[in-house]
């Protein structure tokens, strides 16, 4: 219950809300204003934001000030007699031209910043960001745009925190199972796209946001100077779990990044080796549960009960009791026209074998068969 509302905040926020924009310059910056961020671009954006905010405040003071004077002074209850003027060409020209000049003065620095944001060349590292319902995939690309390391990153907040059965942690809804890792002081270029519907990838501290659109490859870049953990969220409505696909980026010094990257390459090799292995049923259940919780759980739920009719139950249904190969095909190809995605490009043969085995033997299901990676490979050949 640590998210309980404290009366103290009520007393500060109400007057602040009523007072308006004028306050964010003060000591409340963390809570009330745009974060300054950790990149040149985010600082430029912050400066633009503050510039236009103060311009608006200044205009507001003049406009609302004139209104307030009029409301106080020019009222009938004070016996004020109405003048009958209704035109003043000079005045009207002045208050058309002055706003125009102010706008030009705002447009100029905005254009400069925008041009810098679009300067995507000369990158040190390219990462493809791919949005899925409801997780992110990160692919590290080499100079020829070939994939070297690839992994999925999905929400790590336990479900009982979301359903209010346990205390919410500090990074509630802003934590993932495997964060993106990037080196500091290097120009990282992101190629952003999506597999199913439109998502948007945003890290406020970097000052970058781009829609992930199926069939499009958008690009953007960042140079992060300070090592740290930076958090963001999907910012385009992408269906049921739009609020539950956060972004976490771990910016580490280049040396540390290289060590991490080396480990990921080894992990990729190990995963390749797993394709030819034979696993015990216990190993399949453990790995299967892990895969299920990362890829299947948001629709079919931890209990396997799903949310019929849109997300079918997996308990005792024809799919989990019927022929094993049909079950595998369903997971590999998906069901076109429904929410059931194709997992052919998301899971390798070892993961597919484990998750199908798990689904056929969890929650009281007992198909009594064993699924190995070679079964999956045989099926796809």
């Amino acid at each position: 219950m640590q998210q309980m509302f404290s009366p103290r905040h009520l007393f500060t926020t109400i007057p602040l809300a009523m007072l308006g924009f004028a306050l964010p310059g003060a000591g409340f910056a963390d809570e009330l204003n745009l974060p300054v961020g950790v990149t040149d671009i985010s600082r430029d954006i912050y400066d633009l934001h503050m510039l236009i905010l103060w311009v608006c405040v200044a205009i507001g003071v003049i406009v609302f000030g004139a209104m307030a004077i009029s409301i106080v002074a020019h009222r009938r209850s004070r016996g004020y007699k109405a003048k009958q003027f209704h035109d003043n060409l000079t005045l009207e020209i002045v208050w058309t031209i002055i706003p125009f000049i102010v706008l030009v003065a705002l447009a100029a620095p905005s254009t400069v910043v925008l041009l810098r944001m679009y300067d995507t060349g000369g990158e040190d590292l390219t990462i493809e960001v791919r949005g899925y319902q409801w997780k992110w995939q990160y692919k590290y690309l080499d100079d020829d745009r070939n994939e070297t390391v690839s992994f999925f990153s999905s929400l790590a907040t336990p479900r009982d925190e979301i359903s209010n059965q346990s205390v919410k942690g500090q990074y509630y809804l802003l934590e993932v199972d495997k964060p993106l890792v990037i080196p500091t002081d290097r120009k990282v270029r992101f190629l952003v796209t999506a597999e199913d519907v439109i998502h948007a990838w945003w890290v406020p501290d970097f000052g970058i946001k781009r829609d992930a659109v199926p069939g499009h490859l958008n690009d953007m870049w960042t140079i992060v100077e300070e090592p740290g953990v930076y958090r963001g969220q999907c910012t385009e409505l992408c269906g049921k779990d739009h609020g539950f696909m956060p972004i976490v980026v771990n910016a580490v010094p280049p040396d540390e990044f290289n060590t991490w990257y080396g480990e990921q390459l080894e992990l990729a090799d190990a995963r390749k080796a797993a394709l030819s292995k034979t696993f015990s049923e216990e190993e399949l259940m453990v790995e299967g549960e892990r895969v299920y919780n990362a890829f299947c759980v948001s629709c079919h739920l931890p209990t396997g009960a799903g949310i019929p009719p849109i997300y079918p139950s997996l308990i005792g249904t024809s799919v989990v009791t019927g022929p094993r190969d049909e079950h595998l095909k369903l997971v590999i190809d998906g069901v076109p026209g429904t929410s059931m995605q194709s997992f052919a490009n998301q899971l390798d043969a070892a993961q597919l074998a484990a998750v199908v085995h798990y689904e056929r033997h969890a929650w009281g299901n007992n198909a009594g068969d064993v699924t190995q990676p070679r079964d999956v490979i045989a099926l796809s050949e």
Partner: protein, 532 residues
């Protein structure tokens, strides 16, 4: 002999009895009343949805509804408030006021008028019925971006598509009627540049409706074809483009947001001169400003899409054109203040709502200007900052203007004054409620809270709770509005012809309530009586 003629007259000039009066009516006042009641009902339906959304967002965690139902609520709230509450309210006001303000007996096309209203209840019943179907209602946001609204949509999307078609047909018919009426039925002496601002803004709005409603119909038709007939207009896998959907949608959508605000400008431009007892300042520049806003609205649509990955030339073009809108909008605000300046003001309920409109709409305009700055928009886009922005221009903007208009003309319509004390109470509750609801959303947006999420990180908790409390104050105080309106209809102090001593315009030369056919003999319009 004369008695017989009198009876004959009554037969033709009074309303029919019972329900048929409302079903078959071709009278502009009856149809106006139907539109206004439909709008109020939809305002409450959409309002309940908003309160459900705010209740779920009262605290972090999922308490009351599934994320999918949450999405259905936000989607239907948006659709109902735009197409069901604000637009029919403006059409209702136009039906009541256009013939009375231009000196005509009725609308030019009365049967079309009946049809354009009676389509609407069925369209909304069809759309809302999907909420009770197994697959659930539309859940892809009122903007229904493909492919979420095509490949990944619930099966009920078909009902949504046809409901939108019907709403569009109704709007087009209403727009044609208003244009034809204004251009052909004006009394002698009512030249274009003598028309009241409310008539001007509606004339321009009607042209916007004619221009963009077919575009919306095209968009939903393409959605329908992608869902049912295997086309790939918006499916990248089949050679289509999801971004094209957004271009088409916002080519409709941006003029649409001015459709939602221009008649409001008109209402405010009637009310402020009345209670300032002073002619509207800069009548001509007001007309030109509205026309410029309408024209600019066709070349700014992609500012809703700064993050889709447009080329830099496109980004710059849409940033500059969007900023340009601030100029005519600024002119309007300055003119309203110049109208108040050195007037002899009183502060009856319509004036209070109008003053609040000018202040709060301007705040919405400021955040709009901030959103126009493309680099900064990358930080604001699709956050609660945007939610705060458009609610500021639509709730204390469009909705306050409609409420102001109702208080202003209600005595004319029913012949009785409303309860001024209760009206002021309604104003203050609404004003406080609306600010507590929407002002904190600027802060949660800047702090990084995305829109359209059913659950949120802990740092957004305080602002959300505050916002929910404000929404209850605002929402429940609208029941007071219903009470005040019903009370005035049932009786009260006689309103008199010229209810407000500072009011100008032909509607104030008619008795209250006005005769069934407003002006059976065209009045002669003088400069002084033409517009406020």
């Amino acid at each position: 002999m004369s008695a017989i003629i009198h009876e004959h007259d009554d037969h033709h000039h009074g309303p029919a009895a019972g329900i048929t009066r409302w079903l078959f009516t071709t009278n502009h006042k009856d149809i106006g009343t139907l539109y206004l009641w439909l709008s109020l009902i939809m305002f409450f339906v959409g309002g309940v949805m908003a309160l459900l959304v705010r209740t779920e967002l009262f605290q972090p965690g999922l308490q009351f509804m599934s994320p999918d139902f949450f999405n259905q609520m936000t989607t239907n709230h948006g659709l109902i408030m735009i197409f069901g509450a604000v637009m029919p309210a403006f059409v209702g006001l136009a039906n009541w006021m256009v013939p009375m303000m231009i000196g005509a007996p009725d609308m030019a096309l009365p049967r079309l008028n009946n049809l354009s209203f009676w389509i609407l209840p069925f369209a909304f019943m069809m759309m809302i019925s999907t909420l009770f179907m197994e697959a659930g209602g539309p859940n892809f946001g009122w903007t229904f971006y493909a492919p979420l609204s095509t490949t990944y949509a619930p099966d009920t999307v078909t009902f949504f598509v046809f409901a939108v078609h019907m709403m569009g047909a109704s709007s087009i018919m209403g727009a044609i009627n208003i244009i034809v009426t204004i251009l052909n039925m004006r009394a002698p002496g009512m030249t274009l540049m003598r028309m009241p601002l409310f008539i001007w803004t509606w004339l321009i709005t009607a042209y916007l409706l004619l221009a963009v409603m077919p575009v919306l119909a095209g968009a939903v038709t393409m959605v329908l074809f992608d869902v049912h007939f295997g086309t790939s207009f918006f499916n990248a896998g089949g050679g289509g483009d999801p971004v094209m959907f957004q271009h088409i949608f916002w080519f409709f959508g941006h003029p649409e947001v001015y459709i939602l605000i221009l008649p409001a400008f008109g209402i405010i431009s009637q009310i402020i001169p009345t209670f300032a007892r002073k002619p509207l300042f800069g009548y001509q520049s007001m007309v030109y400003a509205v026309a410029s806003i309408a024209i600019l609205s066709f070349i700014v649509w992609a500012h809703h899409m700064f993050t889709v990955g447009m080329p830099i030339a496109g980004q710059l073009f849409f940033m500059y054109t969007t900023m340009l809108i601030a100029v005519p909008t600024g002119v309007k605000v300055f003119n309203w203040i110049a109208t108040m300046w050195r007037g002899s003001m009183t502060f009856e309920t319509p004036m209070l709502f109008s003053i609040a409109f000018v202040v709060l709409f301007t705040i919405g305009g400021f955040s709009g200007l901030m959103l126009a700055i493309t680099p900064a928009d990358f930080q604001y886009h699709d956050t609660y900052f945007v939610v705060a922005h458009f609610h500021y221009v639509l709730v204390p903007g469009a909705v306050f203007a409609i409420i102001a208009g109702v208080y202003y003309w209600l005595p004319k319509w029913c012949g009785h004054m409303y309860d001024e004390t209760l009206g002021k109470l309604h104003f203050w509750l609404s004003f406080i409620g609306v600010n507590i609801t929407f002002f904190p959303q600027h802060f949660s947006g800047l702090a990084g809270m995305p829109r359209r999420i059913p659950d949120y990180a802990l740092q957004f908790a305080d602002f959300n709770m505050l916002s929910s409390i404000g929404s209850y104050i605002f929402g429940f105080s609208q029941l007071l509005f219903l009470f005040i309106v019903v009370k005035a209809i049932r009786g009260g102090i006689a309103a008199g012809e010229r209810t407000w001593d500072g009011a100008h315009g032909l509607e104030w030369t008619l008795p209250s309530p006005p005769p069934y056919h407003s002006f059976t003999h065209p009045p002669r319009v003088t400069e002084a009586e033409a517009h406020s």
